[in-house]
């Protein structure tokens, strides 16, 4: 059981409960600025390199353009009645107390300008309806606070009209990019993905070396030739996974898990070096065009490799784009096998295998772990799974319960559609925003602490690359080990006994001291 150092000097504090509403602290986060994009990052994406001279005019025109091109933007700017239902729903507000992190207040940063230039009341009675001119201060405020929104959509669950702050924050970033005020983290990464094929900048040679290295590990562990094929034409399945799965911990353990499951399923599959990224940061900056460019790489890779199916790895925002947008952005996928979901999530694949009884688990291998599951925001509220309403909540849990004996859920109001964001989503997973990330994680960390206190929970599993990185950085600040965050397929991998795999005594509790062959 994790020993929690709750009162570490200067460290973050747990909340009394995950829903504790803080006192309002005006301006608490106003000095937090994420790094601006360099001119090259912006021009690579077709945006002006630096803030243009007539930025005000262009920004105002862009608001009008978006209102015509995007119904959600238009309806949500008009419909808010300031009822206050959303005010205590954002993890960044709960963690910081800065009132501009309340969803409605964040929307109002833009709504006030929209009203000034596009509504009768705002044009003639600005003070009355809280309308204001678009000044340099307002633009800077947009930049600051629209980069304190992880676009997790928790507020949209609770709004009586379904107003989604993510839509407003994406639009705001789109407007800022149009005038040359982009964010470094997102824009540098999008440019890299469009150039090299993934957010990391991992070239085909390095990718191949990494995968070969991992194949060695798998062979050493299982005694079997478990492959992670790259660019293999004619494979049935194209795996699209976040490049973090090729690089970071615990992501890479998840990749090993997919490989084992595919191996056991006996399917032919491949990774593509051309489309070696699941995550689509185009969504974060609200750029349909950039999101489309990145999505088309996946289509192209599927065509070039001649695959029949596309399966996505564990990545939250990627799954939202894949499940909800891919067909729109890069469809129709009439050249793929229509008998399978297009695209399919690795969780659906594994779950299916478990249902068919084709995976042999030794659950006791995960007995040192007392586990909970973090519903990643974009999977929970932005996508589906399993072909039925709410499948995205059941499938991961059923997979986890199939390979772990000790599973405990966190408070229901912090999971499923009400899940709290990890605090690092939506283009905020960058070091200069660490203060915000740590504070924004506090509702989740508090809910986790509650199950640690109650059930001795030691580990938390997630299916999002951002969640995994964010938690591995943030959990130590709350007294947990950095490896307390795990990939779901990492747990699958450690319990999965492959057909023909040799089991050594020290890893198999039931073993008799002699290597035994498992048959299925």
């Amino acid at each position: 059981m994790a020993k929690l150092d709750m009162n570490a000097e200067g460290g973050p504090k747990f909340m009394a409960d995950p829903f504790t509403i803080p006192d309002i602290k005006c301006g608490a986060m106003e000095d937090l600025d994420s790094y601006m994009a360099h001119p090259k990052h912006n021009t690579d994406l077709g945006f002006p390199g630096e803030l243009i001279d007539n930025w005000q005019e262009v920004a105002i025109a862009k608001i009008g353009e978006l209102a015509e091109k995007n119904r959600a933007f238009q309806v949500y700017l008009d419909s808010c009645v300031k009822c206050g239902a959303c005010t205590d729903k954002c993890h960044y507000f709960l963690g910081t107390g800065d009132p501009k992190n309340m969803p409605v207040a964040r929307q109002d940063l833009l709504r006030s300008v929209y009203r000034r230039y596009y509504t009768f009341a705002g044009k003639y009675f600005p003070k009355l309806v809280g309308a204001r001119d678009l000044t340099r201060e307002v633009l800077d405020e947009w930049y600051n606070y629209y980069h304190q929104c992880s676009q997790c959509r928790r507020c949209s669950v609770f709004c009586p009209y379904g107003i989604d702050t993510a839509e407003i924050s994406m639009a705001a970033r789109d407007i800022m990019n149009a005038v040359g005020k982009g964010q470094k983290y997102c824009n540098e990464i999008i440019a890299k993905a469009q150039d090299v094929g993934n957010n990391l900048g991992l070239n085909p040679k390095a990718l191949r070396a990494t995968l070969e290295d991992l194949e060695e590990d798998l062979e050493e562990e299982t005694g079997l030739s478990v492959r992670i094929p790259l660019d293999e034409k004619g494979a049935d399945i194209l795996l699209i996974t976040p490049s973090a799965d090729f690089f970071a911990d615990p992501h890479i353990d998840g990749l090993l898990g997919y490989a084992k499951v595919f191996h056991e399923a006996g399917v032919s599959w491949t990774v593509s070096s051309y489309a070696s990224e699941a995550a689509n940061f185009g969504m974060f900056i609200g750029s349909y065009e950039n999101m489309r460019t990145l999505s088309l790489r996946i289509r192209q890779a599927a065509i070039d490799l001649g695959v029949k199916r596309i399966v996505f790895g564990e990545c939250g925002h990627a799954w939202r784009v894949a499940y909800s947008f891919l067909n729109t952005l890069a469809g129709p996928f009439d050249f793929l096998d229509q008998d399978y979901p297009i695209p399919q999530h690795i969780m659906e694949f594994t779950h299916d295998m478990i249902q068919k009884g084709e995976l042999n688990f030794d659950k006791s291998r995960n007995d040192h772990i007392r586990l909970t599951y973090h519903d990643s925001c974009n999977v929970a509220r932005g996508a589906g799974m399993g072909g039925y309403e709410g499948g995205q909540f059941d499938l991961p849990r059923e997979v986890l319960k199939a390979c772990c004996n000790n599973y405990f859920d966190m408070d229901r109001d912090t999971t499923h559609e009400s899940t709290f964001c990890c605090g690092g989503g939506g283009g905020l997973l960058t070091d200069e925003l660490m203060d915000l990330r740590v504070k924004g994680a506090s509702p989740r960390m508090t809910a986790l602490k509650d199950v640690t206190d109650e059930h001795g929970v030691t580990h938390m599993a997630a299916i999002c690359a951002i969640c995994k990185t964010q938690f591995s950085k943030v959990m130590p600040k709350y007294g947990y080990e950095m490896d307390s965050i795990m990939s779901v397929h990492q747990l699958v991998a450690s319990a999965l006994i492959l057909t023909g795999q040799e089991i050594e005594e020290d890893t198999a509790p039931e073993g008799n001291g002699v290597a035994t062959e498992v048959s299925s």
Binding site: E188, L200, G201, D213, A248, C315, K473
Partner: protein, 110 residues
């Protein structure tokens, strides 16, 4: 934004990563390490050297797992493990060690 190495000025970005990778030198590594409050010892250098060799071959930093495996081979399992890497480089073997080794910052969800 620049490091000063024996009077020479070496540019770096907002986060301390040098902008011209060819300007790296062992002296610069010491300067960056000092700025990062890392006291460079033999083990730190083993990591930095591996990163630089790997980068030279692949133009990118290795996965943390690959790094650890290599260090485990060369310096034994006491050094070659995740936990110890974070003791050597508290801000992470990927990001902080890359900065000292003069490699670009790994980007993405990492």
């Amino acid at each position: 934004m620049a490091y000063d190495v024996n009077g020479a000025t070496i540019e770096h970005d907002e986060e301390g990563y040098i902008t011209n990778l060819s300007e790296w030198s062992k002296e610069l590594a010491d300067v960056i390490a000092t700025a990062e409050a890392v006291d460079m010892g033999e083990e730190h250098w083993a990591v930095v050297n591996f990163l630089r060799d790997y980068y030279e071959e692949y133009q990118i930093a290795p996965a943390v797992r690959v790094l650890i495996k290599s260090i485990k081979k060369s310096m034994g399992p006491e050094v070659g493990n995740n936990k110890y890497m974070y003791e050597l480089f508290p801000y992470g073997p990927a990001k902080q060690a890359c900065k000292i080794a003069g490699l670009p910052k790994p980007t993405g969800c990492v």
